[in-house]
């Protein structure tokens, strides 16, 4: 693939605390992620993969270094500008699903559209389309408590893709699921990557799940240890 990278990290560091309690989580990351790639981020805990994902998700800013998203510098944006960037270009899937309780699947999926100011009919149409994509159209009026773990994660994926984001960030999306559900979720992510052209960034510590990716990035001690092609690549 010779596409321009959608994400570029250059010399990114992240330092938490100061003085005696100072901890350097990232020690200078250089990384390019191509548009349309499916990247699995692996590494032991404390290796910096979560910190990197937070920076890539525009939830956090690097202490130093450059972060370019679609050629634009993100490290100079303020809090609200990064929020707007997330709203426009990014979708999030979390290990713990993070759906709003006592709220129907459709209302959960519609949430990002509310912040985009879409009208009621548009929200309904887009929300139902996203639920259809993850195969849960019939479950639209169920609350998270009435859905299985796999179904909840699929609702979360529907919520992440309802805005047709450029990048989907998934933080251990299968961490709370059994292997059968996990494979279903990975197939869904692969499908979104291949057929909807969404760039997927996924943190995982399971090699089986990483195997679905085109590219696997290994982290160790706050640095990128190596980058390898996945089975899908």
């Amino acid at each position: 693939m010779s596409v321009d990278p959608i994400i570029t990290l250059r010399g990114v560091t992240k330092v938490y605390g100061s003085g005696a309690t100072e901890f350097q989580a990232l020690k200078g990351i250089d990384l390019d992620i191509a548009q349309g790639d499916f990247v699995a981020v692996m590494g032991p805990s404390g290796s910096g993969k979560s910190t990197t994902m937070n920076i890539l998700g525009c939830l956090d800013v690097p202490s130093a270094g450059e972060f370019l998203f679609k050629g634009h510098h993100v490290e100079t944006l303020d809090r609200d500008q990064r929020a707007l960037l997330r709203r426009r270009y990014l979708g999030f899937v979390f290990q713990g699903f993070n759906l709003l309780s006592r709220t129907s699947a459709l209302e959960n999926v519609e949430l990002p559209l509310l912040y985009r100011g879409e009208d009621k009919q548009t929200r309904y149409d887009m929300g139902m389309a996203a639920l259809d994509k993850v195969g849960l159209k019939q479950w639209w009026d169920h609350t998270p408590a009435e859905l299985s773990g796999g179904q909840q994660q699929r609702v979360a994926i529907a919520r992440a893709i309802v805005t047709s984001p450029d990048v989907l960030l998934a933080d251990e999306p299968t961490g709370n699921l059994d292997s059968e559900r996990s494979i279903e979720i990975m197939e869904l992510l692969t499908d979104l990557n291949r057929n909807s052209g969404i760039t997927v960034l996924m943190v995982t510590h399971e090699p089986d799940m990483a195997a679905f990716a085109r590219t696997i990035v290994h982290f160790r001690d706050g640095l990128v240890e190596r980058i390898e092609k996945g089975l899908a690549g």
């Binding site: 939830l59 997330r86 990014l90 993070n98 949430l111 990002p112 912040y115 100011g117």
Partner: protein
């Protein structure tokens, strides 16, 4: 966007119905109390005004002493003499009618029913001054007044308690152990600023003086001013006349007072207004407490929904939107409380007004102020929790258990 925020607020409130209700209870009670009190207070003021105006406009009351009551220490100022009455009748211009009054109290008895009441000794002029009519029977004849005959005209309360449904006219009843004949029954006046105005027996003043008070003193003189004359001018001449008659030197203090009914009306409505304001202030404090209740619950809500806030921030909500969400939620809560409070106040004052015998007066201004006030409470006490929510870091918020 605001519309959506309001919908979101309603959804959040709907998710915790009981808690939301309990939270708004302070506001509900506060608003209901304020509006009920003010509405009833306004009704009471209106009732007093009406009562006073029913006493007849342009009426002056001449009493011994200063102000209401007989005053504090010192010797009791003397009552008026029959010569004072004659002087007023003959020397004062602009007077339509003059009624002397001697007062006593005692028990009236008729066929085993007895009733404690007030006895007024006066003349037929009293009914003219008071613009008070008999519904049946007649007023005193001049010869009955002159001779002080044992005849009486009874108020409706006395009539009801002694005669029940029966016709009292021509019946003989006993008052303070003396037999007298009922010659008239008065129209109902209702509760006034001075208590039940219908609880009264009116008799010729000479009879009351001879049999009850034992002297010829007049405790009060009521004067109706002719419409063509200015009440305050007549009041001034009356005061000069009385100072002269009671031999008060220049610079000395009056040992009598003249009340204009309008002045009494102002005093009484002033008292009602002050009472309304005090009760209103107490109720306003309960509104404040209600506001603190809202702040408390909103803080709990922010902590409890930290993850939700994290999700919203991750999805792309800007800080201002999260702030608005929680602020609007607090405002919706307090406004809901305000509306419920107003409804309760409406029903309560509508139900209580007849019991207090005051008219029910719906005051739009008071209702609007109370509602706006409850909304303001939402803003004031919702802002701090909302700002706290908006300031959350999305990463920490998402990790929050």
């Amino acid at each position: 966007m605001l519309g959506t925020t309001i919908i979101l607020a309603f959804r959040a409130i709907n998710r915790h119905k009981l808690r939301s209700f309990l939270t708004t209870l302070g506001i509900i009670i506060g608003v209901a109390a304020v509006v009920t009190m003010v509405t009833l207070g306004n009704g009471a003021t209106a009732a007093v005004r009406e009562q006073i105006s029913s006493l007849g406009a342009n009426v002056l009351q001449l009493r011994p002493g200063q102000g209401f009551g007989r005053g504090g220490g010192g010797p009791r100022p003397p009552d008026f003499k029959p010569a004072d009455l004659t002087a007023i009748e003959n020397q004062l211009t602009g007077v339509r009618a003059v009624a002397p009054m001697a007062q006593s109290s005692g028990t009236a008895i008729y066929e085993g029913n007895n009733w404690s009441t007030t006895v007024y000794g006066t003349t037929a002029a009293y009914f003219e001054v008071q613009s008070w009519k008999v519904t049946s029977g007649r007023l005193f004849m001049p010869e009955e007044e002159e001779a002080g005959r044992p005849v009486c005209i009874i108020g409706n309360t006395v009539r009801t308690n002694l005669f029940q449904g029966g016709d009292p006219i021509g019946q003989r009843m006993r008052i303070k152990g003396v037999s007298c004949q009922v010659i008239g029954a008065l129209a109902t006046r209702g509760q006034g600023g001075f208590g039940d105005q219908d609880d009264v027996v009116v008799m010729p003043i000479k009879f009351v003086q001879r049999r009850f008070t034992g002297n010829r003193d007049i405790s009060q003189i009521m004067i109706a001013v002719d419409d063509a004359y200015d009440t305050s001018t007549v009041q001034q001449s009356l005061e000069e006349l009385m100072r002269e008659r009671r031999q008060i030197k220049a610079g000395g203090e009056d040992n009598f007072n003249v009340f204009d009914t309008k002045q009494i009306s102002d005093t009484l409505t002033g008292t009602t207004t002050i009472l309304t304001q005090i009760v209103g202030a107490v109720a306003a404090i309960s509104l404040l407490v209600g506001g603190i209740g809202i702040m408390n619950i909103m803080l709990v809500s922010v902590t409890e929904r930290t993850r939700e806030i994290g999700i919203r921030l991750a999805i792309g909500a800007v800080a201002g939107e999260v702030l608005m969400q929680f602020l609007v939620e607090a405002i919706v809560l307090s406004c809901l409380g305000g509306v419920i409070g107003l409804l309760i106040a409406l029903v309560a004052s509508w139900a209580i007004a007849p019991l207090m015998q005051v008219p029910f007066i719906f005051d739009l201004k008071v209702n609007l102020i109370a509602f706006v006030f409850s909304a303001v409470i939402g803003v004031v006490f919702g802002y701090f929790p909302a700002r706290r929510a908006a300031a959350l870091n999305p990463i920490d918020a998402l990790r929050h258990e």
